[in-house]
Amino acid sequence: MKQEHHHDDYQKNSLSLLGAVSMGTGVMIGAGIFALTGQLAEHAGGLFPLAFLAAAVVTGFSAYSYVKVCRVAPSAGGIAMILKKCYGPGVVTAGCSLLMYFSMVINESLVARTFGTYTLQLFDAKGPDWLVPALGVGLLVVAFLVNIAGNKVIGNLSKFTAAVKVGGIALLAAVGLWASGLSFEADPTAPAQAMPVIGFLTATALGILAYTGFTTITNSGAELVEPKKNVGRAIIISIAICVVLYLLI
């Protein structure tokens, strides 16, 4: 780990609105649709697309707070700064910031494991139990190496892959809708839920994870061009793109 790049320093105006949006959607789509669809269906039954929508509504209300604060004081600290502004530099600020930190790390493991389960599908095999976590750990090693390599690589990569993802999922959804005749009917074979309301709300709680990626945008307040305007815009656009994609699929 030699210090060759000075990339930890925050450069003002180094991030465009498009860059911020692709960063937000990049983190969100990885976690959201591939990892969580099955989980949501388990709790909400046939209503799981609505659970994704409900989660977006909850997230929308949450985003309001972040946008409001960023409009007054955009910073690189994001959530930690917001908490510090409210509670001072005490236990509440530190503890809640760490909760956010751990939640995001947990999210990474979720996505890493999902990478494992999907990759195994290529080989039509269930494979031994240890293969999924092993693939996940492998992905984390790659993520580590890319991150060591530097900032520029990540920026370019995330713009490119965000486009691939949004385009690919939209294509999938379009062909899928066309094939199934543009009709969405509630599945009659869906198992009856023991406690439908609770199940639906549980699915909504898990669905929120599909959108928490927007908080990474608040962390970039210091680098974004015209942050007072663009932090809010980037958050709203990213969430909107994800909602549309999740619902199409």
Binding site: M1, F48, V69, D187, I208
Partner: protein, 186 residues
């Protein structure tokens, strides 16, 4: 996807539901395409998230809110936090399944989110010109979905709630000790 699979099938293929959904509609090529897309999405998602998250931890370190040890590593703080983040993510990947990971992640996030809304509502609402009813709605919605999640998992998988509570206690207890120690040192 809701169009091509029954809910039973989605749950059966819970961990790779989207690939399974592509099968009846698009055949094998569709599965390949979906899996490819999933690989691009997950790989880039993890890379971007690891970057953002290790930077967040570096920020907390700069703000003197978390203890930091170099363990003899060279380089800047953000490189160290990168190492911690990756190691932690690996451990979680190895030891927890998807449903548990998702539950703990959601609980932590929602608790933090509620703290932010509450903080803004009570302390800086006027300064940032936020509307009280939006904040209260946000709090209510968070509380409702969190309560439902806790209730469901208390029936299905009480162990995961134990893990989450121990995590929260360790985080806040650890911070309390750390910040108190720092204060007496000064």
């Amino acid at each position: 996807m809701a169009g091509s699979l029954t809910v039973q099938e989605i749950i059966g293929a819970r961990d790779y539901a989207l690939a399974e959904a592509a099968r009846p509609v698009f055949g094998k090529a569709g599965v390949g395409f979906t899996v490819g897309l999933a690989i691009v999405a997950t790989v880039s998602g993890v890379i971007a998230s690891v970057f953002a998250v290790s930077r967040m931890l570096a920020m907390l370190t700069d703000m003197d809110l978390v203890p930091h040890r170099h363990f003899g590593m060279p380089g800047r703080i953000q490189k160290h936090t990168l190492v911690y983040t990756i190691v932690l993510a690996m451990l979680l990947t190895i030891f927890l399944d998807l449903s548990r990971i998702a539950t703990i992640g959601a609980i932590f996030y929602i608790v933090m989110d509620m703290a932010i809304h509450w903080g803004i509502l009570r302390r800086i609402r006027e300064e940032v010109e936020a509307s009280a009813w939006v904040l209260i709605t946000a709090l209510t919605l968070d509380a409702a979905v969190l309560a439902a999640l806790l209730l469901t998992q208390a029936r299905n998988d009480p162990l995961v709630l134990m893990i989450a509570s121990v995590g929260i206690i360790l985080i806040f207890g650890g911070e309390w000790l750390y910040l108190r120690k720092k204060q007496t040192e000064q």
